[in-house]
């Protein structure tokens, strides 16, 4: 006799997490759109969408807790639920970072528009792709897709470092632009944080699928 009720619960958990992932992706896209268009409408959409992400986080935690308490999962199922709990927290933080970006954009558009030597939309595209791929890896249980996400993190880190150098230089050279430059610096930092969350999600997928802990640059299998 197989445990159909339990497996139905696992399917439900996966579905809920993917739905939440969709909300987090939407928040990033809206925040990026707000930056690109300087349209506060998109910022408001990010703010109003945050509650749904927070509700989803609570809902997923509750279902995971119920499954742990009542079904005593083992092996791949246990790893799956642990991964879901961690990914859930990461997605909620992604939502928070989208809000941070939207707040910076609101401040940016309250000031005159200036040209800054950083390509935030390009960085945002890379970050958005990372989140999308990490969720795709989760959807299909594909560790190799998750591994590709890990490779992308370094690229985003470099973009953030480059942005830091040029924006600090800009603030030094043109103090009148400090406010705008600082806002853009904070946007790049929020994007880099989102990339870190996508990396965490990818690592959790690898843990779920292969039972290997690849955090902090290693591959640790239980002996």
């Amino acid at each position: 006799m197989t445990r159909s009720r339990f497996h139905h619960g696992l399917d439900e958990l996966k579905e809920k997490l993917l739905r939440m992932g969709g909300l987090a992706e939407q928040a990033i896209d809206r925040a990026n759109e707000a930056y690109r268009t300087r349209d506060s409408k998109f910022c408001q959409m990010v703010f109003s969408g945050e509650a749904a992400i927070n509700d989803a986080e609570r809902d997923i935690d509750e279902l995971a807790l119920d499954l742990l308490a009542m079904q005593q999962p083992m092996a791949v199922d246990l790893r799956f639920i642990l991964a879901v709990l961690k990914i859930n927290a990461d997605l909620e933080r992604v939502g928070d970072q989208a809000v941070n970006i939207a707040q910076r954009v609101l401040d940016l558009i309250s000031e005159p528009e200036i040209q800054l030597p950083v390509d935030i939309p390009r960085m945002a595209d890379s970050v958005s792709t990372m989140v999308q791929r990490s969720l795709e890896a989760f959807l299909d249980g594909k560790a190799e897709v998750a591994e590709a996400v890990l490779q992308m993190d370094g690229v985003v880190d470099r973009m953030k470092d480059e942005a830091f150098v040029v924006l600090v230089q800009k603030m030094h050279d043109e103090p009148a632009c400090t406010r705008q430059a600082l806002n853009v610096l904070l946007v790049s930092r929020a994007l880099e944080r989102i990339a870190d969350h996508a990396t965490n999600i990818a690592e959790d997928v690898i843990f779920w699928v292969r039972g290997a802990d690849v955090r902090h640059g290693g591959a640790h299998f239980r002996e």
Partner: protein, 253 residues
């Protein structure tokens, strides 16, 4: 002290049916080893081969090498009675001798082995009941109450005390808590944890959570074969064999 068990090439039959096939397994001394698997997988047969209980069933036989410490269980000169004294066994249903007192139950094995010194017997009965975590509950009624008058959980601990009285090196337990309520079960599990200080324990259980709670090593049997044998935490978090994973996650069985 407990001793290790080395099993090599163990086969067991019921009549013409091969129920265990070529089992190799090293059981660590003074540890708890759990044997899990679906009904009919051979797990009970396996532990019954360790103390030659298997052959007590008509037409059942076993071949292969089982070494318990320095004792060759299937060696030419081994005496089944001595084997079973050194390798005690506790069964699913508590089976105290109903007409005997609590004391008489624990002392039964000693008497059977020709033990006559009353003072030493008193000491051994007390020690065994203490090891089985039953002494405090029965010490005032050792001779007044029969074994059958105790609760199910107490009866099982009495049976454990009876096994311990003859000072075995290994304790085999075949589903020792499956007929007990959760409180009695947790007492037995706590007891198993304590007992490994003095004995090597092999426990057959259908309850995977129980295996996870009490055992340091776990072996998974399927259709008469030992599929996987590893540290318990490895078996229950990242088993190496798909069949183990499918069983412990409830995808078959």
């Amino acid at each position: 002290m407990g001793v290790g068990i080395e099993v090599h090439g163990l086969n067991a039959w019921y009549g013409k049916n091969l129920s265990l096939e070529n089992i190799d397994m090293s059981v660590a001394a003074n540890h708890v080893t759990a044997v899990i698997g679906p009904s009919g997988c051979g797990k009970s047969t396996f532990v019954r081969c360790l103390n030659r209980m298997h052959e007590t069933i008509p037409e059942a036989r076993a071949e292969g090498s089982v070494k318990v410490g320095d004792m060759d269980v299937y060696g030419g000169g081994s005496d089944p009675v001595e084997v079973r004294r050194r390798i005690g066994m506790v069964f699913q249903k508590p089976n105290p001798f109903p007409t005997m007192s609590i004391y008489g139950n624990v002392a039964a094995g000693l008497k059977l082995n020709g033990f006559r010194n009353r003072k030493q017997m008193d000491e051994l009965v007390e020690r065994s009941l203490k090891l089985a975590a039953l002494w405090e509950e029965v010490k005032d009624n050792l001779h007044k109450k029969s074994g059958a008058s105790l609760s199910g959980g107490q009866q099982q601990r009495l049976c454990i005390a009876r096994s311990l009285a003859v000072e075995p090196e290994v304790l085999l337990m075949d589903e020792p808590a499956s007929a007990l309520d959760p409180i009695s079960t947790s007492k037995i599990e706590e007891l198993i944890f304590q007992l490994k200080q003095h004995y090597t324990v092999v426990i057959v259980t259908h309850n995977m959570q129980q295996a996870a709670r009490v055992a340091e090593y776990t072996g998974f049997f399927l259709m008469g074969s030992l599929i996987e044998y590893d540290k318990t935490e490895k078996i229950f978090t990242t088993p190496a064999d798909k069949r183990t994973e499918d069983y412990i996650t409830g995808r078959f069985g």
